[in-house]
């Protein structure tokens, strides 16, 4: 894990130093691990140098505005997830960043500009699973052997959002079948660029509708189960309790990620509370076909789970 992470950092810093026009302020390490690794990194570094201009300029194109908003959102999410330190994170800073994320999300919701979000991530032609590598790497917490738990969707643990933002479910409409989701994601990625197929438009509308529905639900304060749409992912602030549906692609994709750190209180007070779901429950809920070869997880957690599975088998004698 550390090897790939440092390689990413090296890549970013090399790009940064080469750009002579950058001001001293931008020489602070720019952590863009969440971005696609190839030309996306360079693009995003340049974006940052122009971000100040973009933010300051009054008359900007709609595209620019959405882009700057997206960049800010990503930056915020990265900041939130980088609070995994030995010392307790600064609560004031976390709250301010989370409020910024919320603000951006509300604005994006009202603008209905989700297509910009997906374009930024699906438009590079990279498969979503490769982006998962980057985000998973960042989302390693210190305790590799901690039991995976359900994690809250937004506020003080940014890693979750980072995963989701980069993930294929952004491109998917509803979650009912793992296989179809993967196919859908692949197709969506190309569709957003072309935006030709009527299917895309339908899906887009459905996406927005379901998202808006989720928004309404969120405002009512109810935590919803069921299909995990973007709205649910971004809009809800409740910790999801209970076991997810076995068809939930989202859960399956991230079931091997150590989520104990994403519990809100854990984040804020550092206290490790009791897991809401035992590890065996999650293992049971894993569909056999879920572990698609495209998901490359770091060896640590995967081997831990495999080991756990193995031990379970021995104990149970199955």
């Amino acid at each position: 894990m550390s090897g790939s992470l440092s390689a990413l950092f090296d890549h970013v810093s090399a790009v940064g130093e080469g750009n002579a026009g950058m001001s001293p302020m931008l020489q602070a390490p720019v952590i863009l691990v969440g971005w696609p690794r190839r030309q996306g990194v360079l693009v995003s570094v340049l974006w940052l140098s122009t971000l100040d201009f973009l933010f300051g300029a009054k008359h900007v194109l709609q595209g620019h505005q959405a882009l700057q908003r997206q960049s800010l959102l990503d930056m915020s999410l990265i900041k939130l997830q980088l609070c995994h330190m030995l010392v307790e994170p600064n609560l004031c800073r976390s709250v301010l960043i989370a409020n910024t994320v919320r603000q951006i999300q509300e604005e994006m919701t009202h603008d209905g500009s989700w297509h910009m979000v997906t374009e930024a991530f699906c438009g590079t032609g990279q498969s979503p699973s490769e982006r998962l590598v980057a985000t998973e790497v960042l989302c390693r917490s210190r305790e590799q052997d901690a039991e995976p738990k359900l994690f809250s969707v937004i506020s003080y643990e940014g890693c979750r959002e980072e995963e989701v933002v980069a993930d294929e479910t952004l491109c998917s409409v509803s979650v009912s079948d793992t296989v179809s989701n993967v196919c859908l994601a692949g197709r969506m990625g190309q569709c957003w660029e072309k935006s030709e197929l009527s299917g895309v438009e339908r899906d887009e509308e459905a996406l927005e509708d379901s998202r808006e529905d989720e928004e309404v639900d969120t405002e009512d304060g109810a935590s919803t189960e069921g299909p995990k749409t973007i709205g649910q992912v971004f809009g809800t602030f409740e910790i999801k309790n209970g076991s997810p549906g076995p068809d939930s692609a989202l859960e399956e994709l991230f079931s091997d990620v150590d989520t104990s750190y994403y519990d809100l209180d854990t984040m804020l007070t550092g206290m490790q509370s009791a897991p809401k779901m035992g590890p065996y429950d999650l293992l049971d809920s894993l569909a056999p076909s879920h572990s698609s070869p495209s998901i490359v997880s770091t060896p640590n957690c995967r081997s831990d789970l495999n080991e756990l599975d193995h031990i379970m088998e021995i104990i149970v004698g199955s």
């Binding site: 302020m25 004031c92 809100l264």
Partner: protein, 448 residues
């Protein structure tokens, strides 16, 4: 004081020069008379400076100034580990507050993120000599050798400063303590963390009263934290606390035991023209100070300092731009976390001048009577001891003058966060990362 007019003659002395992270000064505070100056650093140490007085104890002659020399150094807090949460507790001293002096000894409160300690600083310059039963080295004498009796006498000896912990107020806070404030009653003090404010009695360490609690039932709903708190200088029932949303709440402890409901709330309506994604972050108040008179409040947010009248809640009575040229750079400052820097602000002794820090080792002073501000620099390379400090300027357009600094060449790692103003004279102490600068206004000193 004007940007272009003559600068006051400033006398300064350099007192510390370290390079390690642990020596970064994290708080500065004068005591009530101004004779003692305490600094705390990231390594958990407290250094107390004492002003040199004339041998006869008279105020310094014209042209001479009392310099501050190291009086005592002690380790206040040690790095700790919270085993329950598996997290380190930093030993960095967040705040120091002196107690009003009641006898020959001095008392101060120092706090890190979790624990507040009361220290007694006392001098010993005499020691008894001539014991009957002990010899000079302290060994017990053989009683058969004692032939006569004598009374031990106190003989002067080298000055020794003893610092002892007298109280340790632990386990009062779940979140990080950001402020402590001694009450005017001389018996109690408050300590504030991100979500709660506790009131303690100085003599009781195993109990504290929780007087403000803004923790929501569901932490997911948390959108606001407490950033600073202070007791009123004269009214022992009033205190104010600031929030990350830019509001100030004045609370009266006579109203109820739990002061979640404020007596007054001070907020400025948002300027729709300047609205951006960073509006909330830059409105977060990083420091709040009552004026010496008790009538005004001084607050610092990221780009401005504001003076509030306690009698007017709808907005500040004065607003001063500290570094407005950074408004167009907020995104970069957000990216490198500088936007979360917490600057302090201070009043002068007569509440006519306010001061706060900025970047590039600059700090700003604003004269409330004229409304004008001046930029000064706390940087060794550009000033010599006893030399006049020249004013600086950040170039933001118009005619560029020699010595102007461009916005893009500001050094954002050199930030002036902590400072203190002498309670009676125009002497200021500025903490610039590892160094402490003490500046004195000689022109005004002559006029006093």
């Amino acid at each position: 004081m004007g940007e272009d007019g003559e600068s006051p003659k400033i006398n300064h002395s350099f007192l510390r020069d370290y390079v390690t992270e642990a020596d970064v000064i994290s708080t500065v505070e004068f005591n009530q008379t101004g004779d003692l100056l305490a600094t705390g650093d990231k390594g958990g140490r407290v250094v107390i400076f004492q002003r040199e007085t004339e041998p006869k104890g008279e105020p310094e002659e014209l042209g001479e100034s009392g310099e501050y020399n190291v009086y005592s150094t002690f380790q206040s807090h040690e790095p700790d580990f919270d085993y329950l949460k598996s997290l380190e507790i930093e030993e960095k001293i967040n705040k120091i507050r002196w107690l009003p002096q009641q006898n020959a000894a001095h008392f101060l409160l120092s706090t890190n993120d979790k624990t507040i300690k009361l220290w007694k600083v006392s001098e010993r310059d005499k020691r008894p000599e001539g014991y009957n039963l002990k010899d000079e080295e302290g060994r017990i004498k053989d009683i058969s050798t004692v032939t006569s009796l004598r009374v031990p006498v106190l003989k002067p000896t080298d000055l020794m400063v003893e610092v002892r912990p007298r109280r340790i107020f632990a386990n009062g806070h779940t979140y990080h303590v950001n402020s402590i404030s001694v009450n005017s009653d001389g018996e109690t003090y408050l300590s504030a963390d991100d979500l709660r404010i506790n009131m303690w009695h100085l003599d009781i360490t195993d109990r504290s009263f929780n007087i403000v609690d803004i923790k929501p039932a569901n932490m997911e709903d948390l959108t606001e934290v407490i950033t600073a708190a202070e007791f009123h200088p004269h009214h022992c029932h009033l205190f104010v606390y600031s929030s990350s949303k830019g509001t100030l709440r004045l609370c009266d402890m006579r109203e109820s035991a739990l002061c979640d409901k404020h007596s007054k709330i001070f907020e400025e309506p948002e300027d729709p023209g300047n609205r951006s994604f960073f509006s909330e972050i830059i409105s977060s108040v990083s420091d709040v100070k009552f004026s010496h008179s008790g009538r005004y409040l001084l607050t610092r947010d990221y780009l401005t300092v504001k003076v509030w009248d306690l009698n007017m809640e709808k907005g500040p009575v004065e607003t001063y731009q500290v570094h407005e040229y950074l408004r167009s750079k907020l995104c970069s400052l957000y990216e490198n976390d500088c936007i979360f820097d917490k600057f302090e602000c201070v009043w002068n002794s007569t509440d006519s001048v306010i001061m706060t820090g900025a970047y590039n080792s600059f700090f700003r002073m604003f004269d409330r009577e004229t409304g004008r501000g001046v930029t000064l620099e706390a940087w060794r390379e550009s000033s010599k001891p006893r030399a006049v400090l020249r004013t600086r300027r950040v170039y933001t357009g118009g005619r560029r003058r020699r010595g102007d600094v461009g916005v893009d060449s500001l050094d954002f790692t050199k930030k002036i966060l902590h400072m203190a103003w002498h309670p009676a004279e125009n002497i200021i102490a500025i903490a610039a990362t590892n160094n402490l600068y003490i500046f004195q206004d000689r022109v005004n000193a002559e006029n006093q």
